[in-house]
Every structure is written in C-alpha cells, then in structure tokens.
C-alpha cells in the first residue's frame, strides 16, 4: 500500500522501480533518492519501472515530469516501462507519453537507450 522505491544500476543507466501508491504524500519519498543519485552525475539516463505501482495521481505525474525535465536539460533520456491499466490511464490523460516513451520491458528500454549511451 505505502510507497517504496528501488534503485538498480545497469550499463550506466539508473533503473528506478516504483512500488505501491504514489500520491502527494509519497512524492518526496520518490523524488529525494532519485535527485540524490542523479545529482552525483554518474547516470545520464533513467528507466522508470512502473509495473509494481498500484496507484498514481497528478502529484505522481509531477514527480515523473520533474525528473524528465531535469534529465532533458542535461541531455539525458527517461523511458517508462510496465504499467497496470489504472497507471496507464492516468499517464495517458496527463499527456506525458508525448514527452516520454513507454515500452513493455527493461530490455526493450535498454535497447531504446543504447543509441544514446
């Protein structure tokens, strides 16, 4: 139910997995560890894995958009992968897919990012 975040590293790409419910209350818990890792400057690209995310609202969209803008300003890419029907619907309504590509799996996301690494 509550929010949890998992960070993994693969080929200089930061893989972030969101679990549970990402609302305004959880936004800080999602933002801070990502910011800390990214500001170190070791990673240019991020894959955001959402298949274990049960709930999101516009506050969660704000967290994703915020990371997207940060990365974009530094030439980094963000790729989203894996979503349940509710999360896909909310992301769809937000129009976020016009900015951020979504694929089915981490390997798909890796190959999408390969050209940029």
């Amino acid at each position: 139910m509550a929010f949890q975040l998992q960070l993994d590293v693969k080929d200089q790409i930061l893989i972030v997995t969101f679990c549970g419910e990402l609302d305004h209350h959880a936004a800080a818990e999602a933002r801070q560890p990502m910011e800390a890792f990214l500001s170190e400057g070791r990673f240019r690209h991020v894959i955001l894995v959402l298949n274990r995310l049960d709930f999101i609202d516009s506050s969660g969209i704000g967290v994703i958009l915020g990371r997207y803008k940060w990365l974009a300003a530094r030439g980094g890419k963000l790729v989203i992968c894996g979503m349940n029907a509710h999360v896909r619907k909310i992301l769809d309504v937000s129009g976020i897919f016009k900015l951020i590509p979504a694929v089915n799996s981490v390997p798909d996301a890796m190959s999408l990012l390969e050209v940029f690494v």
Binding site: D23, S58, H86
Partner: protein
C-alpha cells in the same frame, strides 16, 4: 452475495489536512462504494479524483500548514455516487483560471496543474464552489455501471 439495486447511504468523514490522510480518504471512499460492486477501473477513477481534491485542499487550501480540517461527504443514490470535499482555507479567487489544464499557482512544488483535468476526465461531473478566504467545496459525481450489464 446479492447486489442491492437501490442503496441509500451517506457518510461524513472529517480529518486534519495532513498528507498522511490522503490514502485514508481514498480508502474510505473505496470502502463506501464497495456495496455497488464497482469495476476495478471505476474504483480507481473514484480514488484518483478524491486524491486530487484532497491533495488540493491540503496544498492549496491550507498551504501545507498541517492544520485545518477537511470534510469528505459521500452519498449513494441508487448506483450514483456523490462526493463533496470541503476545506475552510484560502479559497480560489479565479475559478476559470484554476480549471485550465496545466495551470498551477505552485509550479515550484512540481505541481503539474492537472488536478482538475484528472477529476473532469474521471468523473461524470465536477463542480467547484469557492469563496476567497473562506474555503472550497469540490463536488464529484459518478454512476457505477450495473453489474448485470458487464461482460464476463
């Protein structure tokens, strides 16, 4: 279990404007509509819209001061759910502007300005009543699909 065709029920839930209570508000609404046996999709629509309205009351109504109370009223009339979320905070001075997609008065907080857009997209009707300096009431309405009209 038989689904009751017409249910009359109305609850009021009052809680402090703290972000910890956002999920509590969602849970209360989800449990309240359970007797209608909603589809998962409909349940998530309601939870998301409630989350938007409650979050707005906390962030905008009360400026995240962790003080002030929020009233959540929910009513069932047949298969239609009416929800009212009220704060007694700063109020909205320009309602038209507030409802514009992407408008936010707090861009520094990474607010995407999509709360009203979400509510309008997910609910059958969204009403806003607000008096500057007095507070805001968001009204949400959604009809849950009849169980026997669904595909199995």
């Amino acid at each position: 279990m038989t689904a009751i065709a017409t249910v009359q029920n109305h609850i009021k839930f009052t809680f402090p404007a703290m972000s910890e209570n956002e999920s509590l508000a969602r849970t209360v609404v989800a449990a309240f509509v359970m007797s209608l046996d909603p589809m998962l999709d409909e349940l998530n629509d309601l939870k998301t819209a409630v989350s938007e309205a409650v979050t707005n009351a906390i962030i905008h109504g009360y400026d995240e001061r962790n003080s002030g109370m929020i009233d959540l009223e929910a009513e069932l009339d047949g298969r239609t759910v009416f929800i009212r979320i009220t704060d007694y905070g700063r109020g909205i001075h320009d309602l038209w502007q507030a409802r514009q997609p992407m408008y936010t008065s707090k861009p520094d907080l990474e607010r995407p300005g999509m709360g009203f857009t979400m509510m309008e997209h997910l609910m059958d009707e969204v009403t806003v009543q607000s008096v500057a300096g007095r507070g805001t009431t968001i009204g949400l309405r959604k009809t849950i699909s009849p169980v026997d009209m669904r595909w199995h």
